[in-house]
Symmetry: C2
Subunit: 172 residues, 2 copies
Amino acid sequence: MDDEIAVVKEDVIESMERSAEVYGLSRSAGRVYGVLYFADDPVSIPELVEETGYAKSTISNITRKLTRIGMIHRRSSEGGGRRVRFAPETDLWFVIQDVFTQYVDREMEMTQRTLQQALDDLAERDIDAVEQDRERIAELADTYEQLQTLLSVAMDNSAEDVIAAIEQSDLD
Amino acid sequence: MDDEIAVVKEDVIESMERSAEVYGLSRSAGRVYGVLYFADDPVSIPELVEETGYAKSTISNITRKLTRIGMIHRRSSEGGGRRVRFAPETDLWFVIQDVFTQYVDREMEMTQRTLQQALDDLAERDIDAVEQDRERIAELADTYEQLQTLLSVAMDNSAEDVIAAIEQSDLD
DNA sequence: TTGTTTGTTCGGCTCGTATCGAACAAACGA
DNA sequence: TCGTTTGTTCGATACGAGCCGAACAAACAA
């Protein structure tokens, strides 16, 4: 009876474990997210321990990491005791935007700063001797700027809007 | 003299090491790419050993990995002996497209298959008992389909075209 | 053929990370 | 107040990844 349903959910959760791995998270993180995703209400740490079989400390670490990247949320302060409860962020586009803004955008900013500094350093020197190197660094900076432009547009809009904008053009 | 230039290049290469880490590669991979990026001609494995200080076996593994994901290319068959030489792929957008197509697109296809299978399984059962679970899985499938659409448009066009399409709309 | 150069594979070492259980801290209920 | 529940932090262990040197394989030169 319910068993069949449980099997189907288990399949989906296992799929989430695989996905988590692809995106640089642990399988355990995928499972925790999966349990939250199918839960009717926010889930406490003891309940996650019960449902996943992981140790309390492990769940504590996983929930912290997932909370930090915005994949789950702490639903603190609520009827019951001081139990912390977690709910999943179901808008995956939002999660992606968050992660890219936190890490990729950051990395691009740092890289751009390094490249500009390098160009400044080379600018003070004999042109011919460094021209080829200067050109290469400049190209890299251009490429990065282009990627940054692309990324910031994607990060500042809903997935629907981006799709709509592209489809209304002649790209597809 | 040349030293100053070497320092600037070293800064840029170290930046590439950091970037490589953010994107799930090893620092050593970033360095190898950096050396190739500044080289005037394709570089052999012994030369990479010389320039990076890494062991021959390490360079062998790194070049294989970078070649697989399309960040560098084997320039085999060439004037000299049987030495294999490597050149960098400088079109980073092309690299990104490759990686996303190889891994993310693949993961999304697999997930979609799992989700559809789950929906089929639930379809045979009593509607009311599984309606909420079915709805959740369906939403996940929808989200994934949307992300796939977005991704495939981005992966099938040049960065310039995608940027142009978006800017010609009213998104920015 | 035989020695040399080049590249891959293998075994081992190190280090980081995931995980556990236990100790600790904080908040709640009695 | 004191015990109980909840959550975090702290070593300890285990497993995987990066890296190395050595053994091996393959191609070239003499």
